[in-house]
Symmetry: C2
Subunit: 501 residues, 2 copies
């Protein structure tokens, strides 16, 4: 059978990659392909073999991962709230045409739902387009909101580096007609606060402006029709060296070598206010209306960032382009830096953890009359942050509690299930976080062990004598100390002893 | 053109329904159909008309709805945590075959993703099957977890009654081999706590057991092969009267009239411990092994519920069947009661807000060796609860704040943008929730109005004189009182004055 031969060939591919110690992501990709082929083969033959897994590029979050995830979310949400944001939510899928024509080349990565009669639907690709749809649909012209939710991209997953097909985005956006660069500056302040708060190590926030890029392309002699595609090439500069980008521009995209070389000079520039001032004096750039506007606003932005005291982490970087089509002004991207101790020298960029920019035209694409609502926003790339936090916790061997239980209601003798049920019920009703073991007659040792394993700090032990005396024995797990507490004071005693938790 | 004629016919249908003042859900359904037909027609003709809407059966949550939603979630999560639950999350889609054969007749409501190459995927239909898949995949035999997430059903939406195609479920489940009915009793305690805490009005939790139902069917003379389908008929008793259910059993499902009548006698019974005792003496039921087991456990359950002090809201109800295939033991459903003052007499049931039961076989369906992990759990039907909370807040005309901002940094004179930026940045860095208006020179009146509109309690006003003196004027919005505060004491002053917020 042809399919069986194909499976054998694929198995051979996997074997060879493993033997060659190839890139683990590459191997994982081929293994996934092999498993899919096998599953399909099994289904075809009727001797079906069920594969117990989550879909490609997705993962479950167990209690430990969730504890880490919630810690990161808490930091991010508290920052968004500190800046006065409201919160909204939109459906996980949109009408297919809502997403059409918004993502340029990336549109091929959109998940479509099967046509089961009725509307054609797609899973959301980001939170920005649904936000713009929401604004246009509800005729909202003024809002500051955050939205934390999963988005979907049929990309090649690289899960070890935190790249998934289902992943969270944490978006903060400001919509409305305001004085220039004030909301834009706040977005950068927010990125700065969140990355500092999460203590992910040193970082830099690269800033540029689509208008400066377009002006630069114009003065370098790029034809108007090639702006977007040359912009895509520039966007690759954080991953591949200039020489390769140049040959893509000239070879694949038909740009003249002279224009490419002129771009090459500009995109190597990065700096601060001094660079902005220099470019404002640049004989070519300063003649271009768009570039001049962009540079003027960039200067204003840096003034505001100086007032916020965060310019130390900001780099005006002419190589920053951002992939998406909808940006119209300021764009930015935050990357974590890793000091490369082996090779000394320069800080090494380990990847983008936040990005955003201004998109003044997107809402107008949805409005029947094309009315524009200017927007600027930032998206925190939480998956990569999770990966870092997970690795760090693993390295530190820190034990993470996955419950908040304050007390286990236990018994020292048999036949006390009813008394345990009565007491734990009293505690629940008083708002105490409490558990019992679901056994009729658990051993005391097992009950104490459960507390050790799960980090429960207190044990309330009921015994026959205590019941007669109206007392409960309270054991502090960490110190093994035991105190007798009157039953009517138990709730208060537990509260006091766990108040620092 | 045939399609245009179809659209015109549909438009006529809508017109007629509106004229007849038909059920709003019905009208909404036909309008949606009309819009879809029009959209398709537009697309076909090339003169495309984009429809600005969310997909059928879904909705956006704006800031106000989110504030209500988060209030409800807080109550539910705090209850789940009080009972020592961990939290997990799973992907929004599963391999199609993971969901296959778990939902009986409801399987037709599953959303499939388009085959874009690779795996065949479906959106999750509930959180229970993904949970069972998670347990089997990770070989977990013992966990108490909650999971709050959206699920998807291609059902006929009835949005005014809180029935959507995308909706939240809040699930709490206990997996593991334990002594009988202890975890089952805790699930009921949790439903009782949550419904009491949310103050949704009077409610009753109906309880039954699949084993009692099956035993009852056996002694009534239902052939084994008809158990599931007769069970589906019984499940309709909360919506249609016995006479209709009976004629479905006899007419459509070919049950003998005598068997149906015997069932009719049982399913009218509901009560408490007394009824359990009576049925344990029932000459027919007590001879059936399954029924006897179920009744014995039901008695034990009631003993535990008595210790929890919640039997007042529990009704052992032989008509409760629950639709899903996977239940194996105790089943339950909580319904809100509405006193029907017009017609006096009995409390009227207004719909199910929570349900659940024991499913001891589901995990084994995923385990390659069929190893079983007994489970019991509850799912809170949060959408209906939202609807009730929304209606109540609307009726009470209560104003809900959608942000937590403590202070607006304002200025009384022009040219103080820089000073406002500096001060608001200081406040953010100190953890104060603060905003500014994004205007260079906003009017003081507009700034104060913004606080009134959004409920911000304090205004920190910078003025030239205050700047010279190292002071800030703090205005309390509610009382219009103004106090001068030293700049270095401002953070502390704001904290004290908003500590009750």
């Amino acid at each position: 059978m042809a399919e069986e031969a194909a499976v054998r060939a694929q198995a051979e591919t996997v074997r060879r990659l493993k033997q060659d110690k190839a890139d683990p992501d590459e191997i994982a990709k081929e293994v996934a392909k092999l498993l899919e082929m096998k599953a399909e083969l099994g289904a075809d033959e009727g001797k079906h073999k069920f594969v117990l897994k989550t879909p490609k590029g997705t993962r479950d979050f167990g209690p430990k991962e969730m504890a880490i995830r919630e810690r990161a979310f808490r930091a991010i949400i508290s920052c968004f709230k500190r800046h006065g944001a409201e919160v909204i939510d939109t459906p996980v899928f949109e009408l297919k045409e809502t997403l059409t024509g918004k993502y340029g080349e990336d549109s091929k990565l959109i998940y479509d739902l099967k046509d089961q009669g009725g509307e054609l639907l797609s899973l959301r690709y980001d939170l920005t387009v649904p936000f713009a749809r929401y604004l246009a649909m509800n005729k909202i012209t003024n809002i500051k909101r955050y939205h934390i939710a999963k988005v979907y991209r049929r990309d090649n997953p690289a899960m070890t580096r935190g790249r998934y097909r289902e992943f969270y985005q944490c978006d903060f956006d400001i919509a409305g007609q305001f004085d220039p660069m004030i909301p834009d500056a706040e977005c950068l302040k927010i990125v700065h606060e969140i990355l500092s708060d999460l203590q992910l190590g040193d970082f830099v926030i690269k800033v540029n402006d689509r208008r400066i890029l377009d002006g630069m392309f114009a003065v370098c002699g790029v034809p108007d029709s090639k702006f977007r595609t040359i912009c895509s090439s520039v966007d690759k500069l954080d991953k591949i060296p200039w020489e390769e980008v140049r040959s893509e521009m000239v070879g694949e995209k038909g740009l003249s070598p002279e224009a490419a070389d002129r771009i090459g000079e500009y995109v190597q520039l990065h700096g601060g206010l001094d660079l902005i001032e220099r470019l404002l004096q640049d004989p070519k750039l300063s003649q271009n209306k768009l570039a001049k506007e962009g540079l003027g606003d960039m200067k204003l932005l840096f003034e505001y960032l100086t007032l916020f005291g965060i310019t130390g982490k900001i780099s005006f970087d002419l190589s920053l382009a951002r992939g998406l089509d909808y940006y119209t002004g300021v764009i930015f991207e935050a990357v974590l830096l890793q000091q490369d101790h082996e090779h000394g020298e320069e800080a090494l960029s380990v990847g983008s953890v936040a990005g955003g920019g201004r998109y003044d035209g997107l809402v107008g694409m949805f409005d029947p009359k094309g009315r524009k609502v200017p927007c600027v926003g930032v998206s925190i790339g939480i998956e990569r942050i999770f990966s870092i936090l997970e690795q760090r916790l693993e390295a530190a061997e820190e034990k993470i509690r996955t419950t908040e239980t304050q007390v286990l209601v236990a018994s020292a003798q048999k036949k006390l299930l009813e008394e345990r049920l009565k007491l734990v019920s009293e505690l629940w009703d008083a708002g105490i976080k409490a558990e019992i073991l679901y056994k009729k007659n658990p051993k005391l040792l097992n009950q104490l062990q459960y507390c050790e394993d799960t980090g429960i700090p207190l044990v309330a032990i009921v015994g026959e004598q205590e019941l007669k005396d109206g007392m409960v024995k309270l054991r502090i797990v960490a110190t093994r100390e035991e105190v007798n507490v009157r039953r009517e004071s138990l709730v208060e005693e537990i509260r006091i002893r766990t108040s620092q938790c």
